[in-house]
């Protein structure tokens, strides 16, 4: 894994040409190459990389001249904030809508929402962001188009959710990021409900004379939620990935924008650092999702098979 990362990052491009001004003398050039360690053989560079990695040192950014790990961690909270907000929107709107559609298949509500959801995941993320800016910032002037707003402190964490200005800046990018997830959420919930709705235990619950509300909220939802939560967990990772686009458009100072800029500028330590952080993050997410799944589905937790006789 590390070999892949290293080879990928250290073999591309030619940072020498980028970082060292063209009018530098040969001597200055050599000095720069030496100090950046670009002249050592590839294998040496790799071992240094590996040993640094184990010490938590992912190199120093060519551009900013601070340790890349610090740089990434600095920008991580902004991305996480954005991702969580987008997830929140997707769940709060998507789950109930999907539920309603699933309970009334073929109805006008169902068809309209399903059609809209296809639009939702067909719209190219970036274009949608541009249009949002166009509509709400340029034409209507309601919301700011770029940047992150003022930060406040809640429970010791700095976040833009705490200030009105922060919220104003957060709204458009969060909506932009959430749209794709929202459509997915609606469709997922709907199909889950439709599958469960006709199963015997729902019929049995009805035969017991339970109220419709209880049947839907407890019997159906609890079963449907299990796969949904696992999907949501996995999708959180893709939220962080898509944030790269959103952050670029809205100039949101997060990890995503950092990586795009770094790729453009061939800031290899940062790229390497980002890759490592991302991989770690995904492993963590997968682990959490597995745990959540086993907690929620008693069949897994207590060692039975789903259709034990």
């Amino acid at each position: 894994m590390t070999v892949v990362v290293f080879l990928g990052v250290y073999a591309i491009g030619n940072p020498v040409d980028i970082l060292i001004p063209d009018d530098a003398t040969a001597a200055e050039r050599d000095l720069a190459i030496q100090s950046l360690g670009l002249d050592k053989p590839l294998l040496t560079q790799y071992t240094t990389f590996l040993s640094n990695l184990l010490r938590g040192d992912l190199g120093t950014s060519f551009v900013y001249n601070i340790p890349s790990i610090d740089l990434i961690l600095l920008r991580l909270p902004a991305t996480l904030e954005l991702a969580f907000c987008a997830l929140f929107i997707a769940i709060v709107i998507g789950l109930p809508l999907g539920l309603l559609c699933g309970l009334r298949p073929g109805s006008r509500l169902d068809k309209t929402v399903m059609g809209a959801s296809i639009i939702g995941f067909s719209i190219p993320n970036f274009w949608q962001g541009l249009m949002l800016i166009m509509l709400f910032s340029v034409m209507l002037g309601w919301l700011p188009s770029t940047g992150r707003g003022e930060l406040g402190t809640v429970f010791g964490i700095e976040t833009s959710l705490a200030t009105w200005d922060g919220l104003r800046h957060l709204l458009l990018p969060a909506i932009n990021l959430s749209l794709y997830k929202l459509s997915l959420m609606i469709r997922l919930t709907r199909s889950g409900v439709r599958e469960v709705m006709y199963l015997d235990y729902v019929r049995f619950a009805r035969a017991k004379g339970l109220s419709e509300v209880r049947i839907v909220m407890v019997h159906i939802m609890k079963v449907v939620l299990v796969p949904i939560i696992t999907v949501v967990g996995m999708e959180f990772g893709s939220l962080i990935a898509f944030a790269t686009v959103t952050e670029t458009i809205f100039a949101w100072p997060g990890m995503g924008k950092l990586i795009i800029d770094s790729i453009m500028r061939l800031d290899r330590p940062v790229i390497a650092g980002y890759l490592v952080v991302i991989v770690l993050l995904f492993v963590l997410i997968n682990l959490l999702v597995d745990i959540a799944y086993s907690l929620l589905d008693p069949r897994i937790r207590l060692g039975g098979e789903p259709n034990d006789r």
Partner: protein, 296 residues
């Protein structure tokens, strides 16, 4: 009694089912128009956007409907270089579709082959293939594509390569699942007992029965590939400016948006949206039609 035995051809029945949604039929028509427009772009476009003799810089950033001193009408306006938007869009569509469809097709071939092998042969080969598939699918496509292009640099072939790489795993997994189910069925045993060779059974017998999920997935993946390529181009990592796809056109218009010249980003975006949307609608409908479980 004979009437019971003669059944409708599967294709006909599928088409009849598909036809029941007017929306889906319209989407299919739109798809076809778009594909035709892309294929015949050089003949349809009023102006060749690459021909430097025709483009007049002083005509740049004109709103839709305005006309050039030569009397030529820019139906959808012009972009920052003075290119006719309509023509640029048609050519851009051509490239976007080309890249999306080509990468999709190759990904299908690779994924299907690997999926079939995994399902039929089993053992450590299957384990190995599926490990790789799981690994690849654990990461969001856009991220992998981003990283790949960061390493490989720009170029049409590199973009296609990256797109293939992120897509094949979906097909491999889908085909393997379908093939595993088919493998248990009796006709495989029958073919084996007839002494047919393994590859023949795999590709001749099992594969045709796995096509349904591939068709559905393939449609949606092509749409996704087009969208991904557009995103990459927008970010500046995709196709080079010598071959502008719709994504690049949109990105060119980005800076003009804040000054109110919306059309440079709007129209290519709408075309992109329409393309991806109609393909997705067709794919979605196909999924309902070809899925035996949901026929309620």
């Amino acid at each position: 009694m004979i009437d019971d035995i003669i059944q409708e051809q599967p294709w006909r029945r599928a088409w009849r089912h598909y036809r029941q949604s007017r929306f889906a039929v319209i989407a299919l028509i739109v798809c076809s128009i778009i594909i035709l427009a892309a294929v015949f772009a050089p003949w349809l476009a009023p102006q060749n956007p690459y021909d430097l003799n025709v483009i007049d810089f002083f005509d740049s950033k004109l709103p839709p409907g305005s006309s050039a001193p030569t009397g030529f009408i820019y139906w959808l306006g012009t972009d920052g270089q003075g290119r006719d938007m309509l023509s640029a869009m048609l050519y851009g569509l051509r490239i976007s579709l080309f890249v999306g469809v080509l990468s999709g097709l190759i990904a299908i071939l690779i994924g299907m082959a690997l999926g079939l092998v995994a399902a039929y042969v089993g053992g450590w080969i299957e384990a190995l293939i599926m490990r790789v598939v799981d690994f690849m699918l654990g990461f969001p496509t856009i991220l992998v594509a981003l990283m790949l292009l960061a390493i490989l640099g720009q170029g049409v072939d590199k973009v296609i390569f990256a797109l293939i790489l992120v897509q094949w795993a979906y097909f491999a997994r889908a085909v393997r699942s379908a093939a595993l189910v088919e493998r248990q069925k009796e006709y495989v045993e029958a073919a084996q007992s007839l002494g047919l060779s393994q590859p023949r059974i795999m590709f001749g017998h099992i594969m045709p029965n796995c096509l349904a999920p591939v068709i559905v997935l393939g449609t949606m993946q092509v749409a996704s590939a087009i969208s991904t390529e557009a995103t990459l181009s927008f970010l500046g990592l995709g196709l080079p400016i010598t071959e502008p796809s719709l994504g690049l056109l949109i990105s060119n218009g980005y800076s003009n948006m804040l000054s109110g010249r919306y059309w440079i980003s709007l129209y290519p975006g709408l075309l992109l949206l329409l393309t991806v949307f109609s393909i997705n609608v067709v794919g979605d409908r196909l999924r309902d039609v070809l899925n035996p479980r949901l026929s309620r």
